[in-house]
Subunit: 139 residues, 2 copies
């Protein structure tokens, strides 16, 4: 298995941990250094593993089951650095009326001690944009 | 000048081009391959240089002058890959009443032909979050 396949496998493991609210696996997927950053949709950055860990504990304690479909997945490896870009289709599971949102994600990994560890997760809401409405609005 | 300093200089050049709506400099800052991705606040990903270029032309044609203050800047180099994480404080310039927004940004660069070229720009709105309101909401 080459490093690109391993990268995609670790990216998939991240979303499995997310869906299952599995803190042990989430902890194993992430690097634990002081530079790691995690940006959940609409949030500012959590910086350093302690803050990142707390952000996951907060989300997992909320009890909302999320299901992810990953679209437009694109991965590249550059030495010991890997990036996976994708569109997250997120469905709130277990409700009679299901709702879904889309988020754009950039996931960075560093190859440490024989495996890919996440160093940045950046996920942001994709809003429905009217033709000609190009963001950077102030309202 | 080491590669980390060059990375931060190129990151600064990106924001100068943005403020000045300078398409030539923006074109020089970016890599032009088919994998580059650009995510403006609230947008889905523009993928490939042609789409990324068009997104900048659209923003620049809007005529809104933006001024950036960069906070919490953190950069790391891993071989020929560089990442700059930061908080963008964005001010709409030239109005009597100035408004500002905050965005979390992840900027990735690859070292190509002797210089850092941007391969991912991911900027997302930072919303005011109430205590206990942890995102991944469906409303």
């Amino acid at each position: 298995m080459d490093t690109l396949e391993l990268l995609l496998m670790q990216n998939a493991r991240f979303y499995e941990a997310f869906e299952q609210a599995d803190m042990d696996t989430m902890t194993a997927v992430w690097s634990h250094d002081a530079q790691v950053r995690c940006i959940h949709p609409g949030w500012g950055a959590a910086t350093g593993w302690e803050s990142v860990r707390k952000s996951w504990e907060s989300i997992f304690s909320g009890g909302t089951a999320l299901r992810f479909s990953l679209r437009n997945v694109d991965a590249r490896v550059c030495g010991t650095f890997g990036v996976v870009s994708l569109l997250e289709e997120i469905v709130l599971a277990g409700e009679v009326v299901q709702q879904s949102i889309q988020a754009a994600a950039t996931n960075l990994f560093a190859f440490e001690a024989g495996e890919w560890r996440m160093i940045v997760h950046h996920s942001s809401p994709v809003m429905t944009v009217e033709e000609g409405d190009l963001g950077y609005r102030f309202n």
